[in-house]
Amino acid sequence: MSEQTPAGPDVPVGGPSSQPEYDLGGGATVGARLGTALKSGGVITPIITVLFSFLVGGLVVLVTGHNPIDTYKAIFDGTGLQWLFPWTSGADRSTAAINLQQTLLITGPLILLGLAVGYAFRAGLFNIGGQGQYIVGSIVAVWTGSSWAGMPHVLHVILCMLLATAAGAAWAGIAGALRAITGANEVITTIMLNWIAIWMGVYLFGLGGPLQNGTQPDVPISNDVVASAKLHVFWGDPELQGLHIGIFVALAAAFVYWILLNRSTKGYEARAVGFNPEAARYSGIKVGRTYVLVMGTCGALAGLAGSLDVLGWQFHLATNDIQGTQLAFLGIAVALLGRNTAIGTCLAALLFGALVNGTSVRNLDPAVFEPELAQNLTTVIQGLVVLFVSADVLILLIYNKLRPRRAAPAKAEVPA
């Protein structure tokens, strides 16, 4: 013990403080391990993770007899991210701009859907219900957005988004309340609520359904959102699905998420419950109410995502839009890759948005990669990214191997 014991009459030597009792063995939480990983790996780890996944994905491409470098180049070109490079010019630049608009169009709702999963994770809940919450939000947005045609623009937009947010919150709140009151596992309840939301939507907009389009009785589709409820398009052609201001709404939500999680009493309670519900209860935090609030917040985020899509570019909902929406499942991957942090989720959403758009067939030359296969390849790469995210140990190992030797052990484990 090199340090001097502080003087003081009543202060005894506080045990072997030079040998802290780490408890990172079998009982260590993933949170702790991720914490350690973040400390020793920083932002490098997720980057390595992504690179590694692309490497393995490239092997898959290679095995199937394609050129991985060409394929990735084509995918990258399709994302529109080269717009950010000053040397992209001319026709390339305008194509890139359109692609980037489409990439960001997906990124916005993905951020929100990622946050909707991430916040629940932080409170120890697994929200698989992003899909249902997104759908409920979309339904309310399309309903309110196609009503009240005479309303002032800003007011109408805000009202639609608020109501969609509230609807998503209420929908997820059901799962939270059931967890709080009856202890029903939210994994089951959110899956069930997804399906119920789907069939509800199909009923509402199906032929003869109460919200089905009034002017086209033959088409299972909703009414169109009126002009006063549409989100402003600030980049690109407003009629050709340009980029609307929803991306800023999503970024603002990410900022609010950061505040909520790290700087608010509710977020503090959510984290306490997530780490140790028993200790939270002992300190007087109402665990059940926290579950309801957290799920409600998640639902609000997912519902908001639904409203952005409806008010930003979709403008109507067909029954098969409802049945086909898969974005929320990508939200789980986004949250996991982003490690449930605000900034991480934004970056992960951009990555997945770019991946989705970059592999779209219009951007992928069929000579480089058959479009029918590309879609499935994307799914595999998405899976691999998430898979390697899960193996922080593996990635850390690689990281530590690659990094010049620094004698800092990743973690110390001593049995109690």
Partner: protein, 341 residues
């Protein structure tokens, strides 16, 4: 993952070899050597090229045109509804002469894009171009009288049922949407015309993909006495045909000729999307394309009808020919809506 993907009206097969009727409105079998070398783009809906239905049929038409008419073709599949507008506008921007959209859910998208690119020609399958909100003049609707195909199939089913002492026949629809109901309405009317005492059952699977659902519905109908099962549910409907096969009943395919599935396929109610695609391409090549109108494909022009008739139904061929003639001269006009209960 948990979602039900994909939506498609009717099902198609790729088995062209058994396609019996010849081409549609244009009778030239091969392109004139002088034909213009045009660029044609096809945008599928989210069913994708493997939907074994109209997306894949449309693609076949495009490939046929590539090999026979010397055009350049490109297919863009849509992964989600977010792809419709970008896909259509990308092709328009790249100066494709003709852009074909598949499926009535692309109606609004094609309406918007067509107005933005007035010099590009567009066609859309299963959509009434005159009903588009923006009334674009460069979009042609490609419509099908599915009820005529359904009527023929139903007539055959009725004849078969009467001879085999079957009291009930049935149909399995994907979702209650117009193209599906056209088929079913025609089928029921045709069956009743052949055998006024016949009972018709109908069910919707609410799904165009999950074969298990259609199979369950078909099994249920067979349990209620159905001897002929007509599927109008795309890929899902293959399950219904499988049920017929398993229970020793007759099945009727849809959209394309599904006789290849086996001898239990009595016939198929056909909708020649491939022919429609080829014909439209020819129109553009020969500068005969007009927008703002529809081309209707029906029995009279060979764009609708039934496929190969199995041995079990062969003896009714002459009666079928009679009905076909009446459909051609419009002395029979089958209904296109399913009566509600």
């Amino acid at each position: 993952m948990a979602g039900i993907l994909i939506f498609a009206a009717g099902c198609g097969s790729d088995d062209n070899s058994s396609s019996s009727s010849s081409s549609g409105t244009t009778s030239t079998a091969a392109a004139a050597p002088a034909a213009k070398k045009i660029k044609v783009g096809l945008v599928t809906d989210i069913g994708g090229l493997n939907d074994r239905s109209f997306n894949s049929l449309a693609n076949q038409g495009l490939q046929q045109a590539q090999s026979q008419l010397g055009i350049t073709g490109r297919v863009l599949t849509s992964k989600s509804n977010a792809d419709y507008i970008p896909n259509l506008s990308t092709l328009a921007q790249q100066k494709y002469d003709l852009v074909i959209g598949v499926g009535f859910l692309m109606a609004d998208a094609i309406d918007t894009v067509a107005k933005k690119f007035p010099d590009t020609k567009f066609a859309i399958i299963d959509v009434d171009a005159t009903g588009l909100k923006g009334k674009p003049t460069n979009v042609q609707g490609l419509l099908f009288k599915e009820q005529q195909s359904g009527y023929l199939a139903g007539y055959l089913a009725g004849l078969y049922a009467k001879d085999n002492n079957i009291k009930t026949i049935s149909s399995v629809g994907g979702q209650k949407i117009p193209p599906v109901d056209h088929y079913i309405a025609g089928y029921q009317a045709g069956a009743k015309a052949a055998d006024p005492g016949i009972k018709t059952l109908n069910g919707y699977s609410q799904d165009f993909v999950d074969q298990a659902k259609c199979k369950e519905i078909a099994l249920n109908q067979i349990a209620q006495g159905s001897g002929v099962v007509f599927q109008v549910a795309g890929q899902c409907g293959l399950g219904a045909l499988d049920a017929a096969k398993e229970k020793g009943k007759q099945g009727i395919g849809v959209d394309a000729d599904q006789a290849y599935l086996g001898s239990h396929i009595l016939t198929s109610a056909i909708k020649k999307v491939d022919v429609a695609v080829v014909d439209t391409i020819k129109q553009v090549q020969t500068d005969k394309f007009t927008g703002g109108v529809n081309t209707t494909f029906e029995v009279a022009n060979g764009g609708a009808g039934i496929g190969k008739v199995s041995a079990a139904g062969a003896k009714y061929q002459s009666q079928l020919d009679g009905v076909t003639a009446k459909l051609k001269d419009n002395s029979i006009t089958p209904p296109d809506t399913v009566p509600g209960k």
